[in-house]
C-alpha cells in the first residue's frame, strides 16, 4: 500500500512494503515449513536445542515489545515464566492433558498480569523495573512454600512420560514452533495497527501522547498482558522441554539478564532484532557457557557496550546503513525530485494506489 503526494518539489511517497520485505514475508512461510520438518531430519538432541532457541526467541520478542515499543523496562518477567511453568504442573496434577495444560498455563499468566498491572503500572522507569522484580520474588517465595508443587526443591512434569522420548521431543518442538509463530504474528499485527504508533508515542513521551488522546493506561495494559502471556507460554514450554523446574531458577532474575542481552544485541525497538539476538545468545551460550563467571561477565559487559554505543543493536545498525527492512512495522518516506508536478503546486494526496 503506497500513498503518494505530488508537490512542486517532486513526488513524495509513503509506503510500508518494499520488494525485499515482500520477499521476506513470503520466505517466512517457507522457513516455517522447513523448520517443521526438523524432527524428521535431525536428532532428538538437535530438536531439543532448537526448541530452546525458539523459547529464547519468544522471550526476546516479548521483552522487546515491552521495552522497545512500550518503554516498559521490566526486571520481573520471570514472574510470568515461573507462573507458566508452575500452572502447567498444577493443571497436569489435576488431570489436564499436558499440552492443553501448557496452553492454559499461558492464559493463566496473561490473566495474572491484570492484577499485577494494577500495582506495577503505577510506577515508571526504574521504579517499574524493580516493582516487577519484587512481584517475581514474591511469587517465587510463595511457590517455594507450597509442598504440593515441590516446595523449594523443584518438581518434574510427569504427564509427558506417556510418549516415547523422541516423539515427545518432536511434539514439544512443533508446539513451541507454533506458539512462537503465533506470538510473533500477534506482535507484528499489534505493532502495525494504530496501537503500535500509540505505544511508541507513549514510550517517547507519556504526557505528550496522553495530550494527543492516546489512552495511555489501556495501551500499556494491553502490552503488559500480551508480554506476560508470551512469557507464561515460554515458561510452560521450558518445563515441557526440560521436564524439571525449581522455583529458584525459573523465578530467577537471570532470565531477565538473558532477555536484555538478546534484545540489546539484536536491536531494541526493531521487530527483527530480538530474533537475531536470540540466535546470537544461543550460539554464545553454546560456546562459552563452560567459562562460568567469565561468560556472565562477558554478557554483562557486552550489554553495557551495546546500550551505550549501538542502542538499536545489530539489526538497527543494518537497517540504518543498508536501508533494509524485512518485516515492516513502520512507514518509509521516499522523495523523487525528478517527478515535479507542473500543473498545481500543492495537490491533494492521491488515493491509495
Amino acid at each position: 500500500m503506497t500513498t503518494t503526494i505530488e508537490t512542486a518539489r517532486g513526488r513524495y511517497a509513503v509506503h510500508r512494503w518494499s520488494r525485499l520485505s515482500q520477499v521476506a514475508m513470503a520466505s517466512v512461510a517457507l522457513i516455517v515449513i522447513a523448520l517443521a520438518l526438523v524432527p524428521y531430519l535431525l536428532s532428538t538432541y538437535a530438536t531439543e536445542q532448537l526448541t530452546e532457541l525458539f523459547i529464547l526467541a519468544i522471550l526476546a520478542a516479548m521483552w522487546n515489545a515491552l521495552a522497545g515499543y512500550g518503554g516498559l523496562i521490566s526486571i520481573g518477567q520471570q514472574a510470568f515464566i515461573g507462573v507458566g511453568a508452575y500452572a502447567t504442573i498444577f493443571l497436569t496434577q489435576r488431570g489436564v492433558p499436558p499440552y492443553l495444560a501448557i496452553a492454559l498455563a499461558a492464559v493463566v499468566a496473561g490473566i495474572l498480569a491484570l492484577p499485577v498491572s494494577l500495582l506495577v503500572l503505577r510506577l515508571r522507569g526504574g521504579q517499574f523495573a524493580i516493582g516487577t522484580w519484587v512481584v517475581a520474588e514474591v511469587l517465587g517465595l510463595l511457590i517455594a512454600l507450597d509442598h504440593d508443587l515441590g516446595g523449594g526443591t523443584g518438581i518434574s512434569l510427569t504427564g509427558l512420560n506417556i510418549y516415547p522420548p523422541a516423539d515427545r521431543q518432536a511434539y514439544t518442538y512443533w508446539f513451541t514452533l507454533g506458539v512462537g509463530v503465533v506470538l510473533l504474528g500477534l506482535v507484528f499485527v499489534l505493532l502495525r495497527s494504530p496501537n503500535g504508533a500509540a505505544l511508541q508515542a507513549i514510550r517517547d513521551d507519556e504526557e505528550a501522547a496522553a495530550s494527543l488522546g492516546v489512552r495511555v493506561e489501556a495501551k500499556k495494559l494491553m502490552l503488559f498482558v500480551l508480554a506476560s502471556f508470551g512469557c507464561g507460554a515460554a515458561g510452560a514450554l521450558t518445563l515441557a522441554n526440560t521436564l524439571f523446574i525449581q522455583p529458584q531458577s525459573i523465578f530467577g532474575v537471570s532470565w531477565t539478564a538473558y532477555m536484555i542481552f538478546m534484545v540489546l544485541v539484536g536491536g531494541l525497538g526493531t521487530f527483527e532484532g530480538p530474533l537475531i539476538g536470540a540466535v546470537a545468545f544461543f550460539a554464545i551460550q553454546h560456546w562459552f557457557a563452560d567459562l562460568g563467571a567469565w561468560y556472565l561477565i562477558g554478557l554483562g559487559a557486552t550489554a553495557i557496550g551495546f546500550a551505550l554505543a549501538l542502542p538499536r543493536g545489530l539489526w538497527g545498525w543494518v537497517e540504518h546503513r543498508l536501508h533494509l527492512r524485512l518485516f515492516p512495522v513502520g512507514y518509509r518516506l521516499e522523495h523523487d525530485a525528478s517527478a515535479v508536478c507542473q500543473a498545481t503546486p500543492a495537490a491533494d494526496p492521491a488515493p491509495p494506489a
Binding site: R124, I130, E137, A301, I304, A307, P311
Partner: protein, 292 residues
C-alpha cells in the same frame, strides 16, 4: 515482652536498610534514575573492607575509614565512565547499563573471591556480640544501636548538606530543572557525579555494616537493592527521613514475619511494600515521582 524485643530488632534492622536506601533515594531524587547495581556496589564495599581488615590486620571500622574515600572516588569515576554517558541516551538507558554492571560486578566478585559466604562479625570484635540485657527476653545489641546512630547521622547529615550548603543547593536546583540550573552557572554533570559519589560511598558503608551484622557473598547485592527500593517506596519518595521510616517499617515487618516463621521473613517485607503500593498513597507516590 517478646514482641517488644521483635520490634526493637526490626527497628535496628531497618536502620541498615535505611543506610542502603539513602544513596538510592539521593540518585533518584537528583537524576530520576535507579541504579540497579546499587546493592552490588554495597557488596564491593564490604569486600574492600574485608581485604583491608584481613591484610592489614586492623579492625573493620578502621578499614572502613580507608575504604570510604576510595568508594567516593570510585562513585565519581562510575558516573563519568558509565552513568553520565547512559543518561545522554534517555531515562531508560541507565537502567540497562546499571543492570549490566550488576551482572559484571556479581560475577567478578565470584571469580575473585569464590562464592563462599563470609562475615566481618568476628573481626569487628566485642561490639557485635555485646548487648544491654534489659530483662529476660529483651536485649538491645550495641552494634544495632551503633548502626541506627550512624544511619541517623548519615541521613541527617545528607539532609543538612542538601538544605544548608552551597553544593546542596546546586544539587536541589539541578534535581528540579537541570537546564535552568545550567543557565545560572551550575555544572549539572559535576552535580550528578557528586550525587553518584555520595550514593556509592553510603552504599559501601551500608555494605560494610551488613557484613559485620550478618554475612555476605558475591550474590548478596540484588536482595539488598530490592530492600533499599522497598524502604524508599514505603517511606515515600523525596524525603530522607521518610526513607529512614520506610527502612524501619520494612525491618519491623521482616522481623515480625520471621518471628512467626523464618520462611515468612522476607515475604512479610515484600507484602508490606505491595500493600503500600496498592494503597491510595501508592497512587499519589507514583504521580509525584513522575513529575519532573
Amino acid at each position: 515482652m517478646i514482641w517488644a524485643s521483635v520490634i526493637i530488632q526490626g527497628v535496628l534492622l531497618g536502620a541498615v536498610y535505611a543506610l542502603f536506601a539513602c544513596g538510592l533515594s539521593l540518585m533518584f531524587g537528583v537524576m530520576r534514575i535507579i541504579n540497579l547495581a546499587h546493592g552490588d556496589i554495597a557488596v564491593v564495599g564490604a569486600y574492600l573492607v574485608w581485604i583491608v581488615a584481613t591484610r592489614a590486620h586492623v579492625s573493620p571500622f578502621l578499614a572502613l575509614v580507608a575504604v570510604l574515600p576510595v568508594m567516593l572516588i570510585a562513585g565519581y569515576v562510575l558516573h563519568v565512565a558509565l552513568i553520565g554517558k547512559s543518561l545522554r541516551g534517555g531515562q531508560l538507558v541507565p537502567l540497562l547499563t546499571t543492570f549490566g554492571l550488576a551482572i559484571v560486578i556479581q560475577n567478578s566478585l565470584q571469580q575473585i573471591f569464590s562464592p563462599d559466604v563470609r562475615s566481618l562479625g568476628a573481626a569487628a570484635g566485642w561490639i557485635t556480640t555485646s548487648s544491654w540485657r534489659l530483662s529476660e527476653a529483651l536485649a538491645i545489641s550495641w552494634f544495632g544501636v551503633l548502626v541506627l546512630v550512624v544511619a541517623v547521622v548519615v541521613l541527617g547529615g545528607l539532609d543538612l548538606f542538601l538544605r544548608k550548603t552551597g553544593l546542596g543547593r546546586e544539587m536541589r536546583a539541578t534535581a528540579q530543572d537541570p537546564d535552568a540550573a545550567e543557565l545560572v552557572g551550575v555544572d549539572a554533570r559535576a552535580v550528578y557525579a557528586r550525587a553518584t559519589a555520595i550514593a556509592v560511598a553510603t552504599a559501601a558503608l551500608a555494605g560494610a555494616f551488613l557484613a559485620m551484622r550478618s554475612t555476605f557473598e558475591p550474590a548478596s547485592g540484588p536482595t539488598q537493592l530490592i530492600f533499599a527500593f522497598e524502604a524508599v517506596v514505603i517511606g515515600g519518595f523525596g524525603s530522607l527521613w521518610g526513607t529512614l521510616l520506610g527502612g524501619i517499617v520494612l525491618g519491623v515487618a521482616q522481623t515480625i514475619g520471621g518471628h512467626i516463621d523464618p520462611q515468612y521473613s522476607i515475604l512479610a517485607g515484600h507484602l508490606v511494600f505491595l500493600v503500600v503500593l496498592a494503597s491510595p498513597r501508592g497512587r499519589t507516590l507514583a504521580a509525584r515521582s513522575a513529575r519532573r
